[in-house]
Symmetry: C2
Subunit: 296 residues, 2 copies
């Protein structure tokens, strides 16, 4: 596994791989890798002649009061895990190389980012889209893999790839969960034992909503109210948002649930903010089928 730490070296590597006609699968991460990331790496391994992972805690996507400085890091563990998944190149750029002093151009994302985490974290998705655009230009991936735990992020990036005519297929993979249902997240490391126990209410709420829909409930306000009540029954949980939105546009519904919707949750436990989501009624994102295994 090649470890690359400068953008220009990454660029030279990908230009050479592309010139050899090789496909490149790419998994961008902020490190502190868990099973969710590893599922992306394993799928990427099957889809690309070359597999590139990046670890970059992107300052542009953190608000001033957020957890940039204390975001968990484990460079040696991450390196080992990437190697075990058959990663060819691990790209770990320095923030000063990615954002030199004169840096000033950004991506401004649109309506897909107006609600949910976009409303709670102003500028967050502009920062995400900007770094992903930069990483795509440096890595030049044929396909890039993202976890659907960050459903809004996935939609925003897929839209950017279409809007900017990027030469990269953007693929979303199912959320990987702990045995009790909690979605895997690097931020789970922040939770106390008590918070961890109560955090299972997120996935329980998704299951509750699924049952309500299965029983014929179609009023988004009632689904939201039932989910809110369920979460509020956990004393350590503080709701940031609970929304039933159109799964394609991520906008609130004007009437009853008639098409696929996304139930999206953001809940704080102490200083830790967790998110989870489920598409209800139908899943507009086809999970990746068996891809032709790349010859290494």
């Amino acid at each position: 596994m090649l470890i690359v730490d400068h953008p220009s070296a990454m660029h030279r590597w990908s230009a050479a791989a592309r010139a050899r006609g090789e496909t490149i699968a790419f998994v961008p991460t902020m490190g502190y890798l868990h099973e969710g990331h590893l599922s992306l790496l394993r799928e990427g391994r099957r889809r690309g002649k070359q597999l590139v992972a990046s670890i970059f805690v992107n300052p542009l996507q953190f608000g001033p009061a957020e957890d940039l400085d204390r975001y968990p890091r484990d460079p040696y563990g991450d390196e080992k895990k990437c190697r075990a998944c058959g990663t060819d190149v691990l790209f770990c750029p320095d923030p000063r190389a990615m954002y030199p002093a004169a840096f000033q151009t950004r991506v401004r994302v649109g309506e897909l980012a107006s609600g949910l985490c976009g409303a709670s974290r102003p500028g967050h998705f502009d920062g995400v889209a900007t770094v992903v655009l930069k990483l795509f230009q440096l890595v030049r991936p044929t396909v890039a893999l993202f976890g659907l735990k960050d459903y809004q992020q996935f939609q925003v990036i897929r839209r950017m790839a279409l809007d900017f005519d990027l030469d990269t297929e953007v693929l979303g993979l199912p959320t990987v969960r702990e045995p009790d249902g909690l979605a895997m997240s690097s931020r789970n490391a922040y939770l106390s034992a008590e918070e961890r126990a109560q955090a299972v209410v997120l996935s329980e709420s998704l299951a509750l909503a699924e049952r309500l829909l299965a029983d014929g409930e179609r009023d988004p306000a009632i689904v939201q109210a039932r989910v809110i009540a369920r979460i509020q029954a956990r004393p350590l949980a503080a709701i940031d948002y609970v929304w039933v939105v159109d799964a394609a546009t991520l906008q609130p519904l004007a009437g009853p649930i008639a098409r696929p919707v996304l139930l999206a949750l953001a809940v704080r436990f102490g200083a830790t903010r967790l998110i989870d989501n489920r598409v209800l009624l139908a899943d507009p994102i086809t999970p990746p089928g068996p891809a032709p295994a790349a010859t290494r």
Copy 2:
């Protein structure tokens, strides 16, 4: 010369050319080509194995009260001129293919776009940068050529290419002028005979400023005042702005002129807005030297 009208066809063509290891020179235009554009095409011809020109009147960079609908067009004349300059591919996309209904992601440019035309035309450079990013992704140029008549545009695009790690060299070429000094512009076609005669005051003002600097004047306010007085002596001229700014940052000067500065002018004649500029004291942009002629 191949004429391509759909983004996906353009993308297929450039992917194939890149796979053959060919260099691609690119001249993006809004059409109604004049000698300024042709100088870019001729230089592009020397710099790329393939030469691509685009003609696209980009709705995103026009304000609601601007001249999008009446921007001059001459598709047959443009085609002939491109052919005569040795263009390999002429890309003329439809606005609906470039901006489908769900389009929502844009480039947001920074400090370089805050003054001059960026102040007079809100959102203009965001629109320019967005379409140029899209065109770069579709054409995948090794080098892209821009006229320095639009100096701020050149700086904004060069900065975007750096900030987004684009794989394209952004090159600025000297302004081409009419015999009396008026900078070539598609918008010159709007001028009445009388306006056309008075429009020479723009280039006269640049020469005046150059003489002032040569005579030792270093106060930007005095240079601006002298230029304003010169332009105001023409009854049909209405000043939009006259600025002496730092040539690298395009920001107003805090003190006397000590480094290269840009004198930038925007002046209206009736409904027609003309711009011109000159770098004074020194030219930080090296004019392109003799490039190795590409083997066709």
